[in-house]
């Protein structure tokens, strides 16, 4: 059961329109001297709406035509590895579906020119507000603004080999609320981390396939991913880095490499192992006030419902005291799911066993397509109030297939 092309085609991550970065306008001295040069940069800086292709003023925050937010999404440009096949396919999928009329993510109706659905009347969501990725049939995720927040500061980036259980990278970053630019920070971080983790895949089996070697290698890669993610944030936020509260985000990553799963985390986004049968576990440890309280003996319920439960003690970003991810290698046994999520989901269902029950219930009604499972989890969190941005990314994992890949 290798990747079914139909299911892969659902991928639609947000894309950054090229013209959305006015500061990247090239300045050549020759042009600056020309009389018409004063007008040229203005024209070059016009923003093309990613949703409806309307050309907007350079300083427009929302599309004049369809109301889509025009906050420039950040492309991770430094690393050539980012332009891998997965993202290239994804970009194509986006541009083909982002034709004049978009579909409403809630009811499937079409979005009118005024930016609201023609059927249910809900406001059109920008690509940044809600998107899904499905790099392979067994890996998928949904990132959603939720109900109460105006901006989606969550982000994710996924990558996977079509062969089930072979190789996948899932990264979720949750921008720190109330800090402008955190949405850019999180997306830049997630993409940069995924790119560097993807590049760490060793396909040459002769290159030492021992378990200890793989664990050590991925532990190193995970630290590097944290560093690169942090660097990408700097690059993405520009002058905002000088703020008192600069844009920053959490980091939760899972690498699936054959039977081995390596997770890394900074902050309070989480990776869970959701077993079909047997014990489900939270694989990451939060860097949060509530985690510290629990370490001191407070009950999970009590700690997580305290007002300061969400204060995180570590994060990625300019003012971070410590950005080194906690890395945990593990070999899940039996069939199950690797779930990487933001607190917008686990706030409503923190305990691993409770979350497993929820996932089992969802799988019972929507089946095992990971995007549909993620979408149902997001819907469920919104039904609970959608107090925060919600991201759920899943990989269907079955360690019954630990056979090493055949040499090419």
């Amino acid at each position: 059961m290798s990747g079914a092309p139909d299911e892969i085609a659902e991928t639609s991550p947000p894309t950054a329109p090229d013209a959305a970065q006015p500061e990247s306008t090239p300045e050549t001295p020759a042009e600056a001297d020309a009389p018409a040069a004063a007008e040229a940069p203005v024209a070059a800086a016009l923003i093309v709406c990613p949703a409806c292709a309307t050309v907007n003023d350079p300083d427009a925050k929302f599309c004049e035509e369809c109301g889509t937010q025009l906050g420039e999404l950040v492309e991770v440009s430094a690393d050539p590895e980012t332009t891998d096949d997965t993202h290239a396919e994804a970009d194509e999928a986006t541009s083909s579906t982002a034709a004049p009329r978009r579909a409403c993510v809630y009811c499937g109706g079409s979005i009118a020119d005024d930016g609201y659905c023609e059927l249910c009347g809900k406001p059109a969501q920008s690509e940044r507000d809600h998107w899904q990725e499905a790099p392979a049939a067994w890996v998928g995720g949904v990132c959603d603004r939720g109900i109460r927040h105006e901006i989606n500061e969550d982000a994710m980036a996924l990558s996977a080999d079509p062969q089930v259980g072979e190789f996948a990278v899932l990264v979720v970053c949750d921008g720190v609320s109330s800090t402008p630019g955190s949405d850019k920070a999180s997306l830049a971080a997630a993409r940069a981390a995924t790119a560097i983790l993807e590049a760490g895949r060793v396909t040459d089996v002769a290159d030492g396939h021992g378990d200890e070697y793989a664990q050590a290698r991925w532990s190193g890669r995970m630290l590097e991913a944290g560093e690169r993610a942090s660097a990408a944030i700097y690059e993405a936020i520009g002058e905002l880095a000088a703020r008192t509260n600069p844009p920053s985000c959490t980091f939760a990553a899972a690498v699936i490499d054959g039977p081995l799963v390596v997770v890394g985390g900074v902050g309070d986004s989480r990776v869970y192992w959701i077993a079909d049968d047997g014990k489900s576990r939270q694989l990451t440890t939060d860097d949060s006030w509530s985690q510290e309280m629990m370490a001191h003996g407070m009950s999970r319920q009590q700690a997580e419902s305290a007002p300061q439960a969400h204060s995180i003690t570590r994060w990625l970003g300019a003012d971070s005291p410590d950005e080194v991810p906690h890395v945990v290698p593990t070999y899940p046994t039996g069939a199950g799911w690797i779930l990487v999520c933001s607190d917008g989901l686990w706030n409503y269902c923190s305990d691993a066993d409770d979350l497993a029950q929820l996932v089992h219930r969802v799988v019972g009604s929507v089946g095992t397509n990971p995007v549909q499972v993620a979408s149902a989890l997001v819907d469920w969190a919104n039904e609970q109030g959608g107090q925060d941005n919600i991201t759920a990314a899943l990989a269907r994992f079955d360690s019954v297939v630990p056979t090493p890949a055949q040499p090419a």
């Binding site: 005024d114 023609e118 059927l119 249910c120 009347g121 406001p123 039904e383 109030g385 959608g386």
Partner: protein, 426 residues
């Protein structure tokens, strides 16, 4: 080229669990130009004058003068006709033997029409349904005239045909032409003319003194000739699963449009609004939507003006659920104002109906409420007219006593003016 704008006044914040969204949408037209001036457009105008026996004397003399003044106001090129109405209808101009049902206005026709009007002789009874039917037939036989308006003047009750016959004639004329109706003196029935004017997208009014007739006719025809937008419709879209509670015009007059709806598609209703000059009209739209979680936003209605099925102005009515009482408790001033004005209109009409039926207790309560609402909404004209029908003890409390010996004309003036609203102080 006419310019259309739509502005929405509402409080879009709803409390948790709330479902009803109210908004006032102000639609304004500027640069409408003159009637019949557009490409492929021509205007049609018919003057209908009651020439029944009851008009004998001062009334008919004033009516002839007023009709002549009206003819002077009709622009050259406008297709027109004059009907004299009794218990039957007769075309007075073009002369009965003329070949064309209507003719285009030019100096010769204008002079001839005035001669025909001067020759009116009072006789017979009153059957307004027949007048409307003849007007409809003349318009329908003149398809070149695409923007059609009539003015109807009477002094009496519709005594010589059944109410059913009048209703049928009104029904048949609906959508064919617009009609403003005027009553002179105190023997006509406000509800009869209101029935005509409401269905035919016109106004109803009282002309108390015959001498005022000419000025009134002049202004009606001027207004009609100044309506360069031949026909426009109000469209209201509401989301799937919602219910449009009502759509009402609330300024310059109160008209409930809810029952005039035709569906454009399963989610969009269309309401005819007739022709437009340079003017503003306010609409009150109420939609019931399913409640959404706090923090959700949705569009509750798109309110649009369309001309020949093309959207020329659009207003968005929104709903946002919040648990901030400071946001959700506020009632939009425009919505509050027109809600009061609408209740005022029905309180006056109900109060006068109760009084006419001899139910003094109900009349006192209703007219008392009307006095209170007129004071609250600053409708001084309504207050002045109410004062002639009731003694006001306390306007704020709405305590009144019915006056004895009320002049019939004062009651009719109050009735016809009941739907006129004052604009909200924005």
């Amino acid at each position: 080229m006419a310019e259309f704008t739509a502005s929405v006044f509402q409080n879009e914040f709803l409390s948790d669990g709330a479902t009803d969204v109210h908004a006032i949408v102000t639609v304004t037209v500027a640069g409408a130009g003159q009637a019949g001036q557009g490409q492929g457009m021509a205007a049609g105008e018919i003057i209908i004058v009651d020439t029944s026996g009851s008009m004998t004397g001062e009334n008919l003399g004033a009516a002839k003068h007023a009709a002549s003044v009206a003819v002077d106001q009709i622009l050259d090129g406008t297709w027109f006709a004059v009907i004299s109405g009794t218990d039957t209808a007769a075309r007075a101009f073009p002369y009965p033997n003329a070949r064309l049902p209507m003719v285009q206005m030019e100096p010769g026709a204008r002079a001839a029409a005035k001669q025909a009007i001067a020759a009116f002789q009072p006789s017979g009874g009153t059957a307004m349904g027949t007048w409307l039917t003849l007007a409809r037939e003349l318009f329908q036989a003149t398809p070149q005239a695409t923007q059609r308006h009539a003015i109807l003047l009477t002094d009496g009750k519709n005594e010589h045909e059944s109410a059913q016959a009048l209703s049928q004639a009104i029904y048949n004329a609906t959508g064919v032409f617009q009609c403003d109706a005027r009553g002179v003196g105190s023997r006509w029935q406000v509800d009869e003319l209101r029935q005509i004017a409401t269905a035919l997208l016109g106004t109803v009014d009282l002309i108390a003194k015959p001498a005022d007739m000419a000025a009134d006719f002049e202004s009606i025809i001027k207004q009609s000739m100044g309506r360069g937008v031949a026909s426009a419709d109000l469209r209201v879209w509401a989301p799937q699963g919602s219910e449009v509670l009502f759509v009402r015009q609330v300024a310059p007059t109160v008209e409930d449009l809810t029952t005039r709806k035709t569906m454009v598609n399963p989610l969009t209703g269309s309401y005819p609004t007739g022709s437009w000059g340079d003017e503003s009209r306010d609409y009150h739209v109420a939609v019931r939507v399913a409640s959404k979680p706090v923090g959700s936003e949705q569009l509750a209605a798109r309110v649009q003006l369309t001309v020949r099925d093309e959207v020329v102005a659009s207003g968005l009515v929104k709903a946002r659920w919040s648990n901030d009482d400071a946001l959700t408790a506020r009632i939009d001033p425009a919505v509050a104002h027109y809600t009061g004005q609408t209740e005022l209109a029905s309180a006056i009409q109900d109060g006068l109906a109760a009084k006419a039926a001899g139910d003094a207790a109900t009349a006192t309560v209703k007219l008392g409420r009307a006095v209170q609402l007129a004071a609250e909404t600053g409708n001084d004209e309504a207050t002045a007219k109410l004062r002639k029908v009731v003694e006001i003890d306390d306007a704020n409390e709405g305590t009144v006593r019915l006056r004895r010996d009320v002049a019939k004309l004062d009651e009719m003036a109050l009735d016809t003016a009941s739907t006129k609203t004052t604009r909200v102080r924005k």
